[in-house]
Symmetry: C2
Subunit: 343 residues, 2 copies
């Protein structure tokens, strides 16, 4: 196999970042590939997902999952193949997904390892369209946002892996969809390829004025991926009984000093807004429905997605900052080893 290792390389957390993640926050170590004992399986990672939430997992504070401890292999969602199995429920060659971490191989007892259905899409689609990205978009917009046809949906981080799916689901559900992104190129892609009704570059001088013009009937749902000043701008545009789906606040993740919240927060009362935070895994019960809807919409050409694949596990600590400097285009992942040949 062209790309698979004879040792198990691991990125272990060495120190907690201040501001952006730096390569020396990690230590790159190698150990022998472990052998599965009775009732164990050995998983070879193929694609490792790089996600904004990882920045939070590196900080030692209470959150929805415990922080990664110093010396531990960095946590990460990945898809891979079962390499060897002594486990009754898994066979060599099975496609699997789970928190395999920033490493080549994982020895597992099968807990929290999900077998993936074989489909005709590239192997990377398990992270690029399905998986957490898909569930976050699907459940966030439909379950938390409760959209009604004809409403206006505003999406920040719209060219990101979640934002671009959210906007397309919005179009399928009959919403007016307005996206916010950080470059003209991304905005063009949203308008021309994904059929957003409008897409605005928040770095432009006239951004606020143009945003207001792009939402002539105000905003009913704001899908929040970035936080900070854009949240404040969105609150001004919200309609009475509007909903803010709080998915991420990427602008805050690397902040060294606390960033003040929106100064117009009292609008929550006068406009009777509902601001609701969520985590995709709270909606695991919707996974099957999401896979079925996405498969249908993808096949009919209504849903498009992009992946941004960086080759080589050794690149992970540098590549992750593409999420924070706005340079990634599509779902960011690291190719750890070769995917199976196209089926």
């Amino acid at each position: 196999m062209a790309m698979s290792n004879r040792v198990n390389r691991q990125w272990r957390l060495k120190s907690r970042p201040t501001g952006l993640i730096k390569p020396d926050n990690f230590e790159f170590v190698s150990e022998a590939i472990p052998e599965p004992a009775e009732a164990q399986l050995l998983i070879r990672s193929v694609y490792l997902s790089l996600d904004p939430a990882m920045r939070g997992w590196m900080v030692d504070r209470p959150s929805y999952v415990p922080p990664v401890q110093i010396g531990e292999v960095m946590r990460g969602l990945a898809v891979g193949l079962v390499e060897k199995s002594n486990h009754p429920k898994f066979s060599a060659g099975d496609r699997v997904q789970g928190m395999f971490g920033w490493q080549d191989y994982l020895l597992s007892n099968g807990e929290a390892v999900t077998k993936l259905p074989v489909n005709q899409l590239p192997f990377s689609a398990y992270l690029g369209l399905f998986g957490l990205v898909g569930l976050t978009s699907y459940a966030g917009l439909l379950e938390v946002g409760q959209p009604k046809a004809g409403e206006t949906l505003l999406v920040s981080g719209a060219a990101g892996s979640v934002g671009s799916l959210v906007g397309q689901i919005g179009k399928i559900k009959g919403l007016r969809v307005v996206g916010i992104a950080g470059s003209d190129q991304k905005c063009n892609w949203l308008r021309e390829e994904l059929a957003f009704d409008a897409a605005l570059n928040y770095k432009e001088a006239n951004f606020k004025k143009e945003l207001r013009a792009a939402c002539p009937n105000g905003v009913d749902i704001y899908f929040e991926n970035v936080g900070g000043e854009i949240l404040e701008t969105a609150l001004y545009l919200m309609n009475t009984f509007g909903r803010v789906v709080a998915c991420g606040m990427i602008s805050l993740y690397n902040a060294i000093q606390p960033v003040p919240g929106p100064a117009n927060f009292a609008l929550v009362i006068s406009k009777r807004l509902k601001i609701q935070g969520f985590i995709a895994t709270d909606y695991s019960s919707k996974l099957k429905e999401m896979v079925s809807s996405f498969t249908e919409w993808y096949s009919s050409g209504q849903l498009k997605y992009r992946v941004d694949i960086v080759r080589g596990l050794e690149e992970a600590p540098v590549a992750i900052n593409k999420l924070f400097d706005g340079s990634n285009q599509g779902k960011l992942m690291v190719q750890v080893s070769d995917p199976p040949l196209a089926t």
Copy 2:
């Protein structure tokens, strides 16, 4: 009648306040008491409610109601008596409630005038226990907050007219109730008279530490009356899937500069919080249920309330600042004229 006027005195808005409301933001004028024409009625105001929301109505910006215009009689909820009626649905002596404004008399066509049931409570109870204060407390906690017995409820502005009712409803519903107020005297009242489980003075040096200790199981519902720094403190204490009932943000109403929102706003996501603003009148359908529950709880001694009655319409522009300097104790109102004799 000891206290009723032979002219109709009116406080009209003269200029918009910057910071605290000042008497010279209003003009005190007198006009002849109008005579009801066919299908009209003349209402004599008895008690005029003074509410934090009035500060917002004086500002020229879009909100849930249009701002009071310069030259208009200041808006205000009041209870009164029908003095004369040529309207088929009203008779002289009827007890009525509505937006009668800061004046002695109102000529009305009967629209948006609610007839009040006769009860055994003092006339001021229509504003002190029922009316908007009651509905705000009842619907805010039960409909927006969705409490479950055993949960912890944190209330800010707890000694205020809304906060004190919210805490007591919480106790009746089996919650652990922790109040925040601005003086030791208020805190003692909450603990000793209203049976709050804990009450803390936010001006004390150890406030944050004591608050944490008073909420050993975290906070499931935060009933928000004040905004600003206390909101930020509360977000740190919220449990996963906690609810923030956004009722008021009195600390912001007189701010001249924008006040930053909570710097820990991203906790909304990791804790999956729901922050929901509301206005009592959105829940008018619950009014009857509220009156029936409150009457039962009040009669059985489970619900107590206080009123803070300032005598004389001429005092209104000064008295309203008692809401913002923390000096009022109980529902603040102005006695405009004599109530009917006890029934």
